[in-house]
């Protein structure tokens, strides 16, 4: 087990190094003047020259790359000159809002997606199955920015404006306040639910077709017992795996929804960084997000390996 863990950690480190090299390339090779890209377009020429010296941008590229990666390893993700703050503390200050959104969205997504997926699997081929599949397709096809905007307009703004009833607040943010969290989380949750429904259905069907179910049936266990005591828990694990592996998808959804609802999280920070060409900030965010994804993948692999020793030789 330890050997497996060790190998996985090494690999995670390799991935992070690779991604760090990609962001390094985007900061230092792509722009015409990396110093100006870092400091921001409105700094004076003297400031740019000073930064070039301070950051050692005249040194050979490999040396810079090593320095950059070493700093990232120390969790120094750079400094945003436009906002005059270090990148990592800035991201951390916005992280709680994003985490709340992500968790709430996940809860809603699972609460809607899992029952629907189970239903579709148990009634596979029938009208309920088709209905769920169609609904899921529709929800998947709707871009989250459209859905979010419509929800905001129809459930928050219009009721208050036309009828004076406050169903949901019109944007705004208070930590851990469900009223503000409701609409953004609902938007995220609906999109996730559509995605998870299919996965739950597929994994349940896979399980239902497998040998051990046939065995259990032939032994006389009731369908209900089979479904809930055996099939469902076994289907749950691939689902959770898929969630962990699809963290990138979740992150993408968060970026969009934070933008639509002006939610003060990391995603909105990233969009603002893009719009103002705050290169250190956006690159730091990419690195940070990759770290999260890699850690999630690592966690999934470790959980699986601890459950199934045969996988530890992978």
């Amino acid at each position: 087990m330890l050997g497996f863990l060790f190998r996985r950690l090494i690999w995670a480190g390799v991935v992070l190094l690779a991604v760090g090299s990609i962001t390094f390339a985007l900061i230092n090779i792509v722009p015409a003047d990396p110093a100006r890209a870092i400091v921001g377009v409105h700094a004076s020429a003297e400031t740019v020259a000073r930064i070039r010296e301070t950051l050692g941008l005249n040194d050979p590229l490999p040396e810079q790359l090593v320095r950059y990666l070493a700093a990232a390893a120390r969790l120094d993700l750079g400094h945003s000159y436009q906002l005059d703050q270090d990148v990592l503390p800035l991201i951390m200050s916005r992280l709680p809002a994003s985490i709340q959104l992500a968790l709430a969205g996940l809860v809603i997504g699972l609460a809607i997606g899992v029952p629907l997926g189970v239903l579709a699997a148990l009634r596979a081929g029938g009208p309920a199955d088709r209905g769920v599949a169609l609904a899921a397709s529709l929800m998947l096809a709707a871009p989250s920015f459209l859905l979010g905007y419509l929800l905001l307009f129809l459930l928050a703004f219009q009721p208050k404006r036309q009828f004076g009833i406050e169903l949901f607040p019109n944007g705004g943010y208070e930590p851990f306040d469900l009223r503000f969290l409701a609409l953004p989380a609902l938007t995220l949750g609906i999109g996730l639910a559509a995605y998870y429904t299919r996965i739950v259905r597929t994994t349940m069907l896979d399980q239902l077709r497998s040998d051990y179910v046939r065995t259990a049936r032939s032994k006389g266990l009731t369908e209900r017992r089979i479904t809930w005591r055996h099939v469902f828990p076994n289907a749950a694990l691939p689902l959770l795996t898929q969630i962990g592996l699809d963290l990138g998808f979740l992150l993408g959804g968060i970026v969009i929804i934070e933008q639509v609802f002006s939610w003060p999280g990391v995603g909105r920070l990233a969009v603002q960084a893009t719009v103002t060409s705050d290169v250190p900030l956006i690159m730091g965010t990419v690195l940070f997000a990759t770290l999260v994804i890699v850690l999630a993948n690592l966690a999934v692999d470790v959980i699986y390996a601890s459950l199934d020793p045969r996988l530890r030789n992978a």
């Binding site: 690999w11 599949a133 896979d206 051990y212 006389g220 289907a235 993408g252 960084a273 893009t274 890699v294």
Partner: protein, 329 residues
């Protein structure tokens, strides 16, 4: 992992496909989109980028868009451009970006996955002077590790990062999409090639001395091609949403090129006075993505009901669960 025998390709798949209503709905939507994108622009009455002034009737006296009817079938947008023409032009943007990105991704992904699966990690012997050296070229490992790295990248954030350093356009969006999308195909193809390699008929062909190239073309490819097509179709819908999202965020298609995503974001503020300016492009996106999704799903149901992608995780579980279930009873 037990090897499941693959069925030979036969006509029953096509029958199943043609009987699936999802196929027809999807195909209709996709065909409409392709028609709109190809011949649509020449059929509409107005130039999608021409801004009709107040004096020309494109905007009303207050400077607001004109509602549908009369000269402008679907009305005008905030700059006095004909909305119908813009929607049609947007279909061209979406389709060209999605098709080009997905095509590149499919080609690259097939190559990577195919080479990794077929070549494996070959042992290569070479000579230097009189000595002979044997090394194992980590082709398979290297390529699949590369795939893992790219899969670890946060897609939208990376696209935003690119937009921060270069001037974004629909083509930068296409490049980013392609650079991220190929991994899905690579994994699928890799898995399938590995499966096929172990089949009896391939082993037989190899032992008969059939060249690897011929094996690839005659025996492997027919089993891989349907998968590539299925995932390319699904990839197109992902690309459409991705491009729309990027344009919405301002990191994709730029003015004056029409893109449904930027049409939605540009007209958010006109929702109370002219909701069609937001709803119509939104509907266009939904219909397009739905079309490709339904089509891809139908293709998958017909040609690959095993649904390989989720299989991997399921396989792990099956092995462990078999024990628990039989012990319960």
């Amino acid at each position: 992992m037990p090897v499941r025998p693959l069925r030979r390709i036969n006509d029953r798949r096509w029958t199943r496909l043609l009987r699936d209503p999802a196929f027809w709905v999807g195909a209709t939507l996709v065909t409409s989109l392709i028609l709109a994108a190809t011949i649509g622009p020449s059929l509409v009455a107005h130039d999608p980028n021409y801004q009709y002034r107040v004096s020309e009737g494109g905007l009303d006296a207050n400077g607001d868009p004109v509602p549908p009817g009369g000269r402008f079938v679907l009305g005008t947008d905030s700059l006095g451009r004909d909305e119908l023409s813009r929607l049609v032009a947007g279909s061209r943007t979406s389709l060209s970006v999605a098709l080009s990105a997905t095509f590149v991704a499919a080609v690259v992904g097939t190559l990577v996955g195919g080479v990794a699966g077929f070549a494996g990690n070959p042992q290569v012997t070479f000579g230097l002077g009189r000595a002979r050296y044997q090394i194992r070229l980590p082709v398979e490992t290297g390529l699949m590790r590369l795939t893992d790295v790219v899969l670890s990248l946060p897609a939208i954030l990376l696209a935003l990062a690119v937009a921060a350093v270069v001037r974004p356009s629909q083509w930068t969006a296409a490049i980013v999409i392609a650079a991220l999308l190929w991994t899905a195909t690579a994994r699928i193809v890799y898995g399938r090639v590995l499966d096929v390699k172990r089949q009896d008929f391939v082993l037989a062909a190899e032992s008969l001395g059939v060249s690897p190239a011929r094996i690839l073309v005659r025996h492997v490819w027919p089993h891989v091609a349907p998968l590539v097509l299925i995932y390319a179709t699904l990839g197109i819908s992902a690309a459409v949403i991705f491009e729309a999202t990027l344009s919405y965020l301002g990191a994709g298609t730029q003015v004056p090129t029409a893109s449904w995503g930027s049409m939605v974001s540009d007209h958010r503020d006109f929702f109370t006075t002219q909701p069609s300016l937001v709803l119509l492009p939104g509907l266009a996106i939904v219909m397009t993505v739905l079309g490709f999704n339904l089509l891809g799903d139908a293709l998958r149901d017909a040609f690959d009901p095993r649904q390989v992608s989720v299989g991997e995780a399921t396989e792990r579980v099956n092995a462990t669960s078999a024990v628990s279930a039989s012990s319960e009873a």
